[in-house]
Symmetry: C2
Subunit: 156 residues, 2 copies
DNA sequence: AATAAGGCTTCCTATGATGGGAAGGTCAAG
DNA sequence: CTTGACCTTCCCATCATAGGAAGCCTTATT
């Protein structure tokens, strides 16, 4: 292994540096998320730095829960040579909205966890502020915690 | 503490207010991601505000690409009655790290898209200069990660 | 009382994303 | 030339999600 020949990587190297498994890279090619890779004479796939970048982008997007179709569209922003700027802007804008929503949800989860760590970890608190903060319901009623196996009724 | 519930919802209402389909709610119960819901005398499932909150949390987490197992652990932070604070903190901390990484990746993608909108869209020119400009990465030094570790992750 | 709407269960199917493994070809180093 | 690491294709398994059908029961409205 070690240093790569000039500008192209084997599928294994690409997998190692992008975090996308070789299996998935082939899969992405088959479902046409990415274009068929170049091949060596023997049929080995070759990936240049642009491919590597795209794979990293894909991995990040998958990691954030974007579907393949969404990623296809995101990649299309860069790849589609026939798309006019206005279209690009429109599509990108809607994806930016989606991304910002995800960011908001993440921060909401982070807040919830931090809140848990601040306010709920000291043993004798039967009452969880997160419930009140995040659920928009009008009640703080709690279910009876009798019966069931693991006391799952308590959220906090 | 005020007990006595009866701000309970049917599965359909729970689905409507949480964005998790009734089908999935039953599924989550079956795979024990959530504990069996209370039932009316007739067998209808009932969901109180704490349940609703959990379902929203689940939907958010799924939406962000967390696996069921991860969500199980996250929910466990609130559900575990025996929580020894140290364990809770440890687990929560590691999840906070994961969440902050996701947040960073999201902001990286947002940056990439905004960069695309700034730099690539002001005419009908169909090719993207930056896509070409990246003909050298992976090994060569990228512009210092101004900001944070994901700052360089641009396709375009 | 009748009806519509919705809930209950079980079962069957499908699709998408991922990964495991088999059977075999390629390549470089010993 | 052999070996071991890597590649190829192809098939199969799993998990999360979704849809649907059948058959029965409950609740709300008319």
């Amino acid at each position: 292994m070690s240093v790569v020949m000039k500008h192209s990587h084997t599928i294994g190297e690409a997998a190692a540096t992008t975090g996308v498994s070789a299996k998935m890279i082939r899969h992405y090619e088959k479902i046409r998320l990415i274009m068929p890779a170049e091949r060596t004479g023997a049929g080995y796939r070759l990936y240049d730095p642009a491919d590597i970048h795209k794979l990293r982008f894909i991995r990040r997007a998958r990691n954030l829960g974007f579907s393949i179709d969404e990623i296809k569209e995101l990649l299309g922003l860069w790849q589609d040579e026939t798309r006019a700027s206005k279209d690009v802007r429109h599509v990108a804008d809607s994806h930016l909205v989606a991304l910002r929503n995800k960011a908001a949800e993440i921060h909401s989860m982070i807040d919830a966890l931090e809140h848990l760590l601040e306010g709920c970890t000291n043993d004798d608190r039967p009452d969880c502020p997160i419930l009140k903060g995040l659920a928009s319901d009008t009640t703080s009623a709690r279910p009876k915690n009798v019966g069931h196996k693991f006391g799952y009724e308590r959220i906090c």
